[in-house]
Symmetry: C2
Subunit: 138 residues, 2 copies
DNA sequence: GTAACTGCAAAATATTTGCATCCTT
DNA sequence: AAGGATGCAAATATTTTGCAGTTAC
């Protein structure tokens, strides 16, 4: 595990620092989406608030994480799959938000059906956010 | 038009005040989604910043507007259709964000196909955000 | 007249930037 | 050693809250 964290960072041309390792680890362990606030809570006073901002920013730019649209105002980030790289993301994501435990999960193997748009519209990306109850809370 | 604005407010048990009328009018005129910032700009110094917050809050609660998930961090609001009322919204919305003019449009007559979720997940709501090029910008 | 809405001031939060120092390569 | 990353301080921006005055019903 330790090794793979370093690998992910290196593969994305990010220098391996302890904050980046810790934050990346949080994403791997939680296997879901985290908001800025979640990270601050879970990493509890280990880093400066600013470092979290900058680290998330760097991860976003390098395509290590992507952000998830949510209906409430929270901004959440989740790990990208391997075939995401800088400026070249999955076009289709399904995200699931549990109304009970409010965890956000990426369902990468759910197929997004194509959406029939009105005449004149062209789609380049479809984001789907499903809310409901996850299998843990059922 | 004037009359219908008043009607919408009354129908939703909101007292008719000039700020509410103005802000509601902005939504009707723009026929799309607005962010808090958009409203401040368009209403240019007509109201207090705080009034905009509180008005949007009231509209949200009464179901006059709903908010739209966006991948970037902006929070956008759009008018609800008639059959949205307090605590009782459309379950399915398709929202379209134009990558060119960045306007956000509600496509209420586009059908959302059902999403096949993994075992154990139950869905209560599906939000779809399509980005691409709208018919104006084509 | 009463309850609700507004504006102003101020507090609480959240985000960004500059700079000196420290760590990675 | 050089460039990038971090932490601290401070500047901005955003959102919330309290309260007195005003407006809608």
């Amino acid at each position: 595990m330790e090794a793979s964290i370093d690998d992910i960072l290196k593969k994305n041309q990010l220098s391996v620092t302890s904050s980046r390792k810790k934050i990346l680890e949080l994403f791997l362990v939680n296997n879901g989406a985290l908001s800025h606030g979640d990270i601050e809570k879970k990493a509890a006073s280990k880093f400066d608030r600013v470092t979290v901002y900058r680290t998330l920013q760097a991860f976003l730019e390098k395509g290590v994480i992507h952000n998830i649209p949510t209906a409430d105002n929270s901004i959440r980030y989740a790990l990208c799959k391997d075939d995401c790289s800088e400026g070249h993301h999955h076009d289709n994501h399904v995200h699931f938000i549990c109304n009970n435990c409010s965890s956000t999960i990426c369902l990468d193997n759910v197929i997004i059906p194509s959406i029939k748009l009105p005449k004149g519209y062209t789609s380049t990306q479809v984001e789907v956010v499903v809310s409901g109850v996850c299998k843990e809370c059922k």
